[in-house]
Structures are given as structure tokens and as C-alpha cells.
Symmetry: C2
Subunit: 186 residues, 2 copies
DNA sequence: TGATTTATATATCAATATGATATATCATTA
DNA sequence: TAATGATATATCATATTGATATATAAATCA
């Protein structure tokens, strides 16, 4: 079993801190709510869950115990797990490592026609428009829940970040298009 | 030798398309000019360079041939390499996968004190201010080069993206701080 | 009713990527 | 001249992804 010094451990602990979950529901929840700023694969989730249990940070039900007959294993956080999570929360977040393929292609722009770059930027603008809409819908949904007395301040904050960043990306791409078109005309 | 279907291959080709480089200079150049949106490690660069040669996409000098006696191996792109790069340039860029630890910590905010979150946000604001300054300096530098007749449109565009995104991040963090403080007061 | 498709669920693995480290030479500085 | 730092190649354990295998249950449909 690997040491697992990465972040997967804490992501899963953070999710388990809200409610008991199966590996599958962790994956689905990540895809729906976290995918804009975090990803985990099954290849990380299942081994990490076992490590959490081995380290006493989580406990698991027997296969099928709470189950619907499909052999599901439900994991719950322990007090030690909450302590570990709380300690990690205090640590300074690491500088993010990104891989923006569109920026790579723009920076290598001299190796293709400007039409190709503009095509990529158009796709990018459209995608960011969709994402902005998604974030706004999300915000509205959270606002409604807040009205009903359900506190989702922190989830709302991550959606707000999405709105800000995707808007900036869209604005940049539109400006970039203009600059590339100008360059072509000169 | 691995298949290497990832992106490292194209990043290196894109850099070699400008000038012949050693593995070391590729790494340093990436750190200086690309690190805001792309990273590669030595563990990727050196094996990938060998694969590029094996696939006829690059050629290398003998150890020390052009060298200063330090055994450097200089890699140059071939016509086949330029063709491969050009084909990749046309492909739609993949959706970026990000890992923003600060957003993860904000979204798990209920597991710590609001002072901890505000501390992280303050650090984040300061870092983004530095980055905005760095991007602006970079832009100015490129503008000067443009004045001297050196075309660096594409590098300027990536710096512009940095300016937009880091500004958005800073604005978000300031708004997030306000919301967290408000929540604490209510 | 039975057949097909979709969703739930665990699990593994090859390929990819990171981060740290080992080794050695040359250049600069104290 | 000894120490430090920059240049340079290389490897490895760990981390991570993306795809796939396997199986059951639920929903849809003919």
C-alpha cells in the first residue's frame, strides 16, 4: 500500500465530514460539485478509502451491510479523521499547478494559421459562456437554499469564483481574438 | 520505452520549433515563461526527448559536440517534427484539469475557524497582486520588443491572460473575505 | 413478461506526471 | 584554493489519470 501523501486523502475526509459516503458517491459528487477546481479518479478514491480506514481516520460498513444488495461499502469519518482534516485546513494551500492547453497553443501560434487559433478561441468563448451561466444558476440555487435557512455560504463562494474566473477567461479570449485579427491585417 | 501519448511531446516540439535546446534549457524556459499555465518535470522531459529522436521528430547532437565540456545534448526539430506539431495545433484543446487547493479549503470551510480562511485568502490576495504586477511588467517588456520590430504577439497574449485571470482571482478573494466576515457577524 | 439499457458499485492497471534526488562539470566568488 | 552556485543529464518512488472489467439493481420498453 502506497504512502499517499497527496491531497486525495483530505478531499475525501472533507466530503466524509458532511456525511457518510461510498466511493462511487464520492466520485459522482466530485464530478458534479468540485470538478471546476478539483478532480479525483477511482484509481485514487478506492485505495485512499482503504488507507483512511487503516489509519483510523474513517470506518467502513461491511460489504452490503447498509446496502441495497449491490455490495456497497459506506465510509464514515472518525474523530481522528476530523482532527486530521482540521489540521490540514490550517496549512497554507499549495500553489496551484495548471495545464491550460489553449494557452500553450496560443503561445505556439506561429506554427499554425490564425484561423486555427481563432477557431480555438471561439470554442473557448462559447464554453466559458456556458460555464458562466452554469455558475450563475448555481449561485441562484444556493441563494434560494439560504432563504430556506440552509447555510451554503462556502459552496456559494466557490461558484462565485467560477463566475469571476470564467468571465475573465471569456473577456481575455475576445481581446485575444481582436489582437490576432489585427495582426493578420497589418 | 513508454508510448507517450500525453502532451509533453508537443510542448517540447513547440519549444524546439523556435530554437535548438537542451533538456535543461527546456526546463528553465518552462519555469520562466510557461509555469503560469504549464509545467513539465525532468522525469518527463528527458525520456520524451529520447522518444522524439526515436520517432524522427527531433535530432540530437552527440554528447558534448556543441558543448562547453559539460556533456550537453542539443536537440533540434525535424521537418517531421514540425508537421506533427502543426497537426496537433489544429486539434481542439482539451478541457483543462485544475487543482485549486484554496477553493477546496474554502468549500470545506465549516471544518475550521473563519480566521483561518481569511488568512488563506489574504495570502492568496497578496500572491495574486504580485502575479498581476509580474504580468504587467512582462507585457511592458513585450511591448518594448514589439517597438524594436520583434514580434512577440503570442507571448504577449498569454501574459494578458494572466493579467485577466489573476485580477479576477484577487477580486473574488476580496469579495469572499467580505462574505465570510459578514457571516461571522450575523 | 422478458429483454435491453442505464445507473450503481467496486476494483485494477498501464500510461502519464511529479518531486526529489544522485552525479558530475564548470564558473564564480570568498 | 575551497566553497558555492549554475549547468546538465538521469533516475525513481510516489501520485494520478483514464480506461476498462465485472456485477447487480433499476428503469425503460417491446
Amino acid at each position: 500500500m502506497k504512502e499517499n501523501t497527496g491531497k486525495s486523502k483530505y478531499v475525501i475526509l472533507g466530503m466524509l465530514a458532511r456525511m457518510p459516503l461510498t466511493g462511487y458517491t464520492i466520485k459522482k459528487w466530485l464530478e458534479n460539485e468540485y470538478s471546476h477546481f478539483w478532480q479525483e479518479s477511482y484509481g485514487q478514491i478506492y485505495p485512499t478509502l482503504k488507507i483512511l480506514v487503516a489509519q483510523g481516520l474513517a470506518v467502513c460498513s461491511d460489504k452490503g451491510e447498509h446496502g441495497n444488495g449491490r455490495g456497497q461499502i459506506v465510509y464514515s469519518i472518525t474523530d481522528a479523521g476530523r482532527k486530521e482534516l482540521s489540521e490540514w485546513m490550517r496549512e497554507k494551500p499549495e500553489i496551484e499547478k495548471l495545464r491550460y492547453e489553449i494557452l500553450l497553443k496560443i503561445s505556439f501560434g506561429e506554427n499554425t494559421e490564425s484561423e486555427v487559433l481563432i477557431g480555438h478561441l471561439d470554442d473557448f468563448i462559447r464554453r466559458n459562456e456556458d460555464l458562466i451561466k452554469e455558475m450563475k444558476d448555481c449561485m441562484e440555487n444556493f441563494s434560494q437554499l439560504m432563504g430556506e435557512g440552509i447555510d451554503c455560504t462556502y459552496s456559494r463562494l466557490t461558484a462565485l469564483c467560477g463566475e469571476y474566473v470564467y468571465s475573465a477567461m471569456k473577456d481575455w479570449a475576445e481581446e485575444a481574438k481582436k489582437i490576432i485579427i489585427e495582426k493578420g491585417e497589418s
